[in-house]
């Protein structure tokens, strides 16, 4: 049986192309091209954005020479990375060494497939999208552990083990917070989570559940920053201690793949935060009819992109402001603070639902 997902573009191609197998192949290629365009395009934009945000936080200008305000700097950097020689260190397990960057790239691409960029702009609408995303995120840990293990380098191994321990710990909080949203909206499908926030700005889950919605959002920020392995939780690649962590020995294309995975993960996690807390592709209606009608004219994917970029900016400000905790402090924060508060939050959410305290 040929799998088919109902979608206007997919249905059009299925009706035009005579053979169902061919239609399936064309649809798959369209989806792959779309996802790759979003992934690579956003990675290049985000590297530039990260450098600019970092520079302005530190009273610098950042890249200024290549193109207008250094816009082509990341393109040049990417080209340089791609043309570098690929080699593995002596004693490295070559097969796993080259397998690890490919494994680490699977999870962001799989997550990107499930993100609803607009009502019809989604590769895969799954009724169990949130548990699937939680499951698929585990691939990231596998890639880090394999990459560190295969490098035959103590720094890499230490970074990988620390990163693995950190990501497994914070996955619990991450999953519990997503389940909080599933509990609130009554569905695990990202389309339905978005649809449950229809209405004005107060209907988004961050405001709809008084106080604890905002609390859940803050905790989602913390746990997803740790999940992304970004500073202040970049224990896996703490430069001052481990030189580069799990990707110390990688260079050229393999390093670019680790880098790419990091930035696509940033996009998917920000998109998840936007879908779960900030109303997805819905326009921010504020209750004034003139402004609302103007906002509704703007297509949903533009609102989605704006919200995602706002979230990414928040992650970047967090990254360049806060200091890195020690590994034991990091574990303390998860097991002694975030996890108990999370469990309390879910219990409080159940109380809020049963008493109908949701706006």
């Amino acid at each position: 049986m040929i799998p088919s997902i109902p979608h206007p573009l997919g249905n059009l191609i299925r009706s035009v192309v005579p053979y169902p197998e061919l239609a399936f192949a064309i649809n798959a290629v369209i989806a792959i091209i779309g996802i790759c365009a979003v992934a690579f395009g956003s990675a290049i934009v985000l590297v530039y954005m990260e450098r600019k945000v970092c520079a302005h936080v530190q009273c610098r200008l950042g890249p200024m020479r290549l193109g207008f305000h250094g816009t082509f700097q990341t393109v040049a950097d990417t080209l340089k990375l791609l043309f570098k020689e690929v080699y593995a260190p002596g004693g490295a397990d070559k097969f796993i060494f080259y397998l690890a960057p490919m494994i680490i790239l699977t999870s962001p691409f799989l997550c990107l497939c499930m993100i609803p960029f607009d009502y019809n702009l989604q590769v895969m609408e799954s009724p169990v999208a949130i548990p699937l995303i939680i499951a698929v995120n585990g691939f990231g840990i596998l890639g880090i552990l394999l990459g560190g293990w295969a490098s035959n380098n103590k720094y890499s191994l230490l970074g990988a083990l620390r990163g693995g321990a950190q990501m497994i710990s914070y996955e619990i909080s991450f999953a519990l917070l997503l389940l909080f949203i599933v509990m609130m909206s009554g569905s695990a499908s990202l389309q339905e989570v978005t649809a449950s926030q229809a209405g004005n700005i107060l209907d988004w889950w961050i405001f709809k559940v008084p106080v604890i919605g905002f609390l859940a959002f803050i905790m989602f920020l913390v746990s997803s920053t740790a999940e992304l392995n970004r500073a202040p939780f970049d224990i896996a690649e703490a430069e001052q201690e481990l030189t580069g962590g799990y990707h110390t020995e990688y260079n050229g294309t393999a390093f670019a793949m680790f880098y790419l995975a990091e930035y696509i993960n940033l996009v998917t996690t920000s998109a998840l935060a936007v879908v779960c807390f900030l109303g997805g592709y819905l326009p921010p209606l504020i209750g004034i009819p003139v402004i609302d009608s103007a906002f509704s004219l703007v297509p949903g994917f533009i609102w989605f992109a704006l919200k995602v970029f706002f979230m990414i900016w928040v992650y970047m400000m967090i990254r360049w402001t806060f200091v890195r905790p020690r590994i034991d402090q990091l574990m303390d924060l998860e097991w002694k603070f975030l996890l108990p508060v999370n469990l309390l939050l879910i219990a409080a959410g159940a109380v809020f639902i049963s008493f109908g305290w949701i706006l």
């Binding site: 302005h56 530190q58 806060f322």
Partner: protein, 156 residues
């Protein structure tokens, strides 16, 4: 040996940190946000492009020069204190006598190549006759360019 904490003190510290931690994080974030939204605070200079308008700050120590009044005369008395103050022997004062038999400055030899721009000569000068100027583009491919005679200016 570390002092033993009672569970009561531990819990008190735990809950205190739950309050003070976020506050201190917000304080840090307010600083970075202020920098982010104030592009005027940027200290980077776009050097080769803004060469015409670039102004060094007043404390900058470039190469040494004699302070001259409006007639182009310096107040150096060739006392040689700067020569003795210089840790690298970059300065040599060659004094002569004028017609009245008074000791005056003949040549103020200054070797930029060995100078560390420490400004000890400026601080030691009792007459305020020398200063560090604002020039910083001092590199040259000819070592002769670093042996300067400060009181003989070009075109004189």
């Amino acid at each position: 040996m570390a002092k033993k904490t009672t569970s009561r003190a531990y819990l008190a510290r735990y809950f205190k940190r739950c309050i003070t931690g976020p506050i201190s994080l917000l304080q840090g974030l307010s600083v970075t946000l202020r920098y982010f939204f104030n592009p005027r605070k940027i200290v980077t200079e776009q050097y080769p492009e803004n060469r015409k308008t670039l102004k060094m700050h007043s404390r900058f120590r470039g190469s040494l020069e004699l302070i001259e009044d409006e007639n182009g005369e310096n107040v150096c008395t060739a006392c040689g204190i700067c020569e003795r103050a210089c840790p690298n022997a970059s300065i040599n004062i060659l004094a002569t006598k004028n017609i009245a038999g008074k000791r005056v400055l003949g040549r103020y030899l200054y070797r930029l190549g060995t100078c560390t721009l420490c400004s000890l000569c400026v601080e030691s000068c009792p007459f305020g006759a020398i200063r560090m100027n604002q020039k910083f583009e001092l590199s040259s491919t000819d070592p002769k360019d670093f042996d300067l005679i400060l009181n003989q200016k070009e075109g004189r």
